[in-house]
Amino acid sequence: MSDSITLSNRPRGGLMASLPQRSVFVLAAVAAAVGIFLPGLVSSVLLLSLMTQAVIGAITATGVGLLFRQNGVVSFGHAAFYGSAAYIIGLSMRYGLLPAELAIIAALVLPPLLAFLLGLVIVRIPGVAFAMLTLAVGQAIYEFALKARHITVGDDGFAVNFPAQVFGISVRTFQHPSSMFLICWMLLIVILLALQVFANSPLGRLTVAIRENEERARFIGYRTVVPRAFVYALSAFVASIAGVMAVLYNGFVSPDMLHWSLSGSVLIMAIIGGPKYLWGPALGAVVFFFIKDFTGNLTEHWPAIIGMIVIITTLMLPEGLAGALARLAGAVRRRGNATGEAAQ
């Protein structure tokens, strides 16, 4: 009996997962082309700046979505990794500890490493308790940044003075909205593609299996803690990338970058977009930033409006905007097929 089982018709995973690998790369190329032309079409620097912040938010939300999709848990503490990455760079620059390039590398390595070690302990704890632990760890790091004024300057935060060039690129490139939008947009596309490859890899499939039924995974011979800790570290890595981009763009760090309210906002972005879908949280982030900007101009009570949108999304679109779009695309595809068959 042949054991050559093809898994190409896998039933799981939303719009991108259901597309052939080549189509995913075509979509990515189209998205990249859109990103190249978009800054040229937007004349307002304010709007470009908002778009850049939205894409940085999209990267962070993608990290939170990864954790939900692969491990089935939510994090209330991803700002810890986002902000830690920013502080590692900021403190390195402030005290001359490391050259900017090495500081960036450290900012991409140390938070995920912390997440992995932390994950070895906390991923064993299910559901709400896990979320509370991520919140506790996040707030502990926030409190440290707030209270250790002699090191971090506390609540005031501080400006980060980068050298004229970082990795051979003028730092102005990172701090101008149009060029930084393009860099962050391309980075987001690369991250989404990489996570798509990860989701289809043996480790990605294993972590979904563990999410589905951890006990069964153990009884087919797998250790279940390390793979989940790895996913937690990977999601922290994605958040760290966003933190690096944020500090490069803003040239400033403050404890707000570590605060639970930022973790909460990122979670809301993921919920609005639909964390079951790889690209859902990124979509949610873009929508979140534009709603926040629009409602913020109308009223200081904009968080209440965001709250109502979250409630409506949860009740009416449990799979988020991405789920609704995926269903719509499926319906259009089916109608197209039916029309084609009728014409024959």
């Binding site: 009996m1 042949s2 054991d3 050559s4 089982i5 898994l7 018709n9 896998r10 039933p11 799981r12 043996p202 499939r205 294993l206 979904v208 299996a209 589905e212 039924n213 006990e215 069964r216 995974a217 153990r218 009884f219 087919i220 011979g221 797998y222 250790r223």
Partner: protein
């Protein structure tokens, strides 16, 4: 050769003793039935042998090797597999996909063979949650059969199946055990299944071995008839 052996296996839940110094040994290639009323300790015994239980005492050997300190996944990797009373599959994954994941841990990645033997090939690319309950039970069994385990512990594999499905599963189990040389310890309430495939039966009652012998002998023991079999004998 003794395939799996448990010596003085004891486990309690608070003041209740679920297993009371039970000794059991199953020779290689045998299909052993494990029967008894609810609360007799059958599933607990399977849990202890498979590494699922905690806070137990005694010794478990697999082909003479002491596996007591090994975790569930370590026991699985050396050829001790199990299925569960409650269907225990990966509902959101495809049928072949989850067998493929299991096969990555096995020395003999026999996904195609298992799909074929269990009649799951037509559903290979369907989501496990979307197939019928009977097929899900077979998939549960299939996950245990990946890698051709040396010893298979089955906890009520026919639970919830129709009479015909139960008999088909029994037939398939007997056939596979014979051809693959798998030793099977099966907990089952369906006496037709037990008496049709088991070469030897152990009866548990209140955490102890009440009787042990060939099916025909078991049917003639008055204590067993009184405690469990009743009119089934």
């Amino acid at each position: 050769m003794i395939a799996i052996e448990g010596t003085n296996l004891t486990r309690g839940f608070g003041g209740f003793v679920a297993l009371d110094k039970i000794c059991i040994s199953v020779p290689e290639g045998q299909i052993r039935g494990l029967i008894g009323p609810n609360g007799a300790g059958k599933s607990t015994l399977i849990d202890v042998l498979s590494g699922r239980a905690e806070n137990w005492s005694g010794q478990v050997k697999l082909f003479g090797e002491d596996i007591s300190p090994l975790s569930a996944q370590q026991r699985r990797r050396i050829g001790l597999a199990r299925s569960f009373q409650r269907t225990n599959i990966f509902p959101d994954l495809g049928v072949a996909e989850q067998l493929d994941i299991a096969a990555r841990r096995a020395e003999q990645p026999n996904v195609g063979e298992v799909l074929h033997e269990l009649g799951l090939a037509p559903y290979a690319h369907q989501r496990a949650a979307d197939i019928s309950y009977g097929d899900q039970r077979r998939l549960d069994l299939g996950l245990a059969l990946i890698g051709r385990p040396r010893v298979l512990l089955l906890d009520e594999p026919a639970a919830g199946l129709t009479v015909q499905e139960s008999m088909d599963m029994a037939e398939m189990l007997r056939d596979l055990a014979q051809r693959w040389g798998v030793t099977v310890l099966i907990v089952e309430h369906d006496m037709d299944v037990v008496f049709s495939i088991c070469q030897h039966i152990t009866v548990l009652h209140l955490g102890r071995v009440l009787a042990d012998g060939a099916p025909e002998e078991i049917k003639r023991i008055p204590e067993v008839v009184t405690a469990y079999l009743g009119s089934a004998a």
